[in-house]
């Protein structure tokens, strides 16, 4: 799939809006439909599309496994970290009100933002790595030869 000129050009036109749309879904989830989970899947689709058309090696240079590996756990840790931060601030686990005692809704905004960011990071990296790990295996036919 490396010599299709039309696919190359179209992918270069289409992938940036996909990634941008993922970020929009991520950070606009409080106002419209969507959130970290959907955003993560859309962002991963953009990268996977790039890998399908430009080759897995090129995609791996964009998102090196060395970066993806820690990010996968970082998203979950960010989520848990928000919970522990609320406990340290004197509230219940994941009770965002304590982030801004005088404006509870500000605290809620901050908490939801961080938690959704954690979801987005973990989902994106898990999906991209799943695809890479599938793509890295040799097809059965080639192995038999």
């Amino acid at each position: 799939m490396t010599h299709h000129v039309v696919l190359h050009i179209i992918s270069k036109l289409v992938i940036p809006p996909i990634l941008l749309f993922a970020l929009y879904v991520q950070f606009h989830g409080e106002y419209g439909p969507g959130g970290g989970f959907q955003a993560g899947v859309i962002f991963a689709s953009g990268i996977i599309l790039y890998a399908l058309i430009h080759g897995v090696e090129a995609a791996r240079r964009v998102t090196p496994p060395l970066v993806l590996r820690p990010l996968m756990a970082l998203g979950l840790l960010l989520y848990i970290g928000v919970g522990i931060a609320t406990q340290l601030a004197g509230g219940n686990f994941l009770d965002y009100d304590v982030f801004a005692p005088h404006h509870p809704s500000h605290g809620q905004h901050l908490g939801i933002f961080l938690v959704e960011l954690g979801v987005g990071i973990t989902v994106t990296t898990v999906m991209i790595r799943l695809f890479f790990v599938f793509a890295a295996r040799e097809p059965a036919r080639r192995r038999e030869e």
Binding site: S45, G75, S105, Q108, H109, V115
Partner: protein
């Protein structure tokens, strides 16, 4: 009226797609039909005003799941699905289960009825209080990320654990992480 027509059309296409998946002998066509099935389900969710669910169905069911299945097909190569003669027992089991499920729906309150149990538990509180307590317009996000934050933490943990499991199974030596 339009709503009913849309629902009937979508459900008919859903059944047709499901039959197509069963009848098709070509794995590639099956994966594509699954993707269409997901898109039709997403359409049904939109018709039910559940845009967040529809979004997830379209992104995950039609997007990533199709990609991963295509990746699997690319690995195993084109293998025609083995055809068996239709057997009676599986058909009876399927018909009985389907009949029991349809019988079960007879006791359900009509779609959208205000007095249905699902609308009387915590849903009114979320709808009425979330603007004040959480302060964001999207109630679904308010429920998922604030009221039921603990559940969402569990879901993210499941995704993380599942991802690690698949990577351990498939990505071992010589796999993705090989230096």
């Amino acid at each position: 009226m339009t709503q009913h027509l849309t629902d009937i059309a979508l459900l008919t296409l859903l059944v047709a797609t499901a039959l197509g998946v069963v009848r098709s002998g070509n794995p590639f066509a099956m994966v594509m039909l699954y993707a269409i099935y997901s898109f039709l389900s997403a359409g049904l969710f939109i018709s039910l005003d559940a845009v967040d669910v529809a979004f997830t169905e379209a992104a995950v069911g039609a997007g990533i799941a199709t990609l991963l299945m295509l990746g699997t097909l690319a690995l195993v190569g084109p293998q025609p699905v083995a055809r068996h003669r239709p057997r009676r027992l599986p058909l009876v089991v399927v018909l009985l289960t389907g009949g029991a499920l349809i019988y079960g729906t007879l006791d359900m309150p009509p779609l959208g009825e205000a007095g249905a149990p699902v609308h009387e538990h915590v849903a009114p509180r979320y709808l009425e209080q979330s603007a004040e307590e959480v302060g964001i317009p999207n109630t679904v996000t308010a429920v998922l990320a604030s009221y039921r934050s603990f559940d969402t933490l569990g879901e993210v943990t499941v995704i993380f654990t599942a991802g690690v499991g698949v990577l351990l199974l498939l990505g071992g030596r010589g796999g993705e992480d090989a230096p």
